[in-house]
């Protein structure tokens, strides 16, 4: 394969990753890793570098739009970022001792979790009575709703959320993905944060967590220029298109197709990991 062919394939793949990522609310990493490892035969170590680039591009690319809406809870994100950054540090250390097959199996399980999270019914957590810790940490927030009114919310179980965030950070340090799934899970299911706030805050956090491990992976040589260039350009272009389409498109069917595809990739990753094929 020539450099040109490889770059074009990766550009198209990264574009689709960015597009699907912004339509389904997942980071680009979830699509980039299987594309690189399973379709193009790239070593997991380079795929992790590509996924980090994709995660940061998605987070910063869609972040500029989210900030304007004023839904993101920066205090909540920043506080939990202590946990994810510590997790990312641990993850980047642990990763040295993991071989590609173990990483593939871990990735497969994260994908399964992603599917479950996509299929789960979304609750909006009305009238949550917040905990004292959350109040002291000024984590309560408010956001403007579509009808122009402002909704105030409280949240609970800060310790539990913090703990899951350490795991989310560690996974992101090992796999290079944003671990959006675990972040949303921690905020939505454990801390009872309104869904919209969870997703936008998770998007904000994704970039910061990914950068914590990316500065290390760049020095280790995981971020390869020949892969980073098409991934960055493709994911950004895809995310931009996705953000436009999202306003006009009904994504329920797409989400379901995406879930089936991810479940298949998960099975493939876990099988090949256990078989020692990576």
């Amino acid at each position: 394969m020539t450099v040109l062919t490889f770059t074009i394939i990766l550009l198209i793949g990264a574009y689709l990753a960015g597009l699907l990522g912004s339509l389904t609310g997942l980071g680009g990493g979830v699509v980039i890793i299987p594309l690189l490892t399973l379709c193009l035969g790239v070593d997991f170590q380079y795929a992790i570098g590509g996924a980090l680039v994709a995660s940061i591009a998605t987070s910063s690319g869609s972040g500029s739009a989210y900030v304007k809406e004023g839904i993101t809870n920066i205090r909540l994100g920043m506080f939990l970022e202590i946990a994810t950054c510590i997790g990312a540090v641990i993850g980047a250390l642990v990763a040295i001792y993991l071989n590609n097959n173990i990483i593939a199996v871990i990735f497969g399980f994260v994908l399964i979790l992603t599917v479950i999270n996509q299929l789960r019914r979304k609750e909006d957590h009305e009238n949550v009575v917040g905990s004292e810790t959350a109040r002291r940490l000024k984590l309560y927030g408010s956001f403007p709703q579509k009808d122009g009114s402002v909704r105030h919310y409280q949240l609970t179980n800060v310790g539990g959320g913090f703990g899951v965030m350490v795991v989310a950070g560690a996974l992101s340090g090992i796999l290079g993905i944003g671990s959006g799934v675990l972040k949303v899970l921690a905020m939505d299911s454990i801390m009872k944060v309104p869904f919209k706030v969870s997703t936008t805050t998770s998007n904000f956090m994704m970039g910061v967590t990914a950068v914590t491990s990316a500065v290390v992976y760049l020095q280790r040589g995981n971020i390869e220029p020949g892969i980073a260039f098409p991934v960055m350009v493709g994911v950004l272009a895809g995310a931009l298109t996705g953000a436009r389409l999202l306003k006009t498109l009904d994504v329920t069917v797409l989400r379901k197709i995406f879930c089936v595809a991810i479940a298949l990739v998960a099975a493939n990753m876990i099988y090949n990991g256990f078989a020692g094929n990576f």
Binding site: V3, M78, V211, F229
Partner: protein, 141 residues
């Protein structure tokens, strides 16, 4: 009468706060947008250079990870590559620009918290920055 006055001043105070918040959000939004655009433009330039120089060559063997820290893994190597118009140097500078976007966002939030005199969150944000910084220079590579 007096009460009304305090209410009014409280309201104006609140509106200024809301306006300040909106200004900060605009600055953060613009920083992200410009940061990503700059990174993307540099990546496109580097990518074009890469395809012109190496487009017809067979692609590097990515199936085995190369653990021997090539020049594109440290700042000095990257910038010397960049100034010598090496495609890999230009692309890695784009990667660095991209990495700076979330960091800039955290730095701007820190300034915002300091301006609001929210010392608890100024400390939280500084801690996050410190973790990122210390990790980037001490983690084994």
């Amino acid at each position: 009468m007096k009460e009304e006055k305090t209410n009014v001043s409280k309201e104006t105070q609140q509106t200024t706060e809301v306006r300040k918040k909106r200004d900060m959000n605009r600055i953060i939004g613009n920083t992200l947008r410009y940061g990503v655009t700059i990174a993307c433009v540099i990546a496109l330039a580097g990518g074009a250079l890469y395809l012109i120089q190496n487009g017809n060559e067979p692609v590097k063997d990515y199936s085995i990870f190369d653990p021997n820290h090539p020049a594109y893994t440290n700042l000095r190597g990257i910038f010397s590559g960049f100034f010598n118009f090496q495609a890999w140097g230009v692309i890695q500078v784009a990667v660095i620009a991209l990495l700076l976007t979330p960091i800039m966002r955290v730095v701007l939030s820190l300034l915002d918290f300091v301006q609001e005199r929210d010392w608890l969150y100024a400390a939280v944000t500084s801690l996050v920055l410190a973790i990122i910084f210390v990790n980037s220079i001490t983690s084994p590579v």
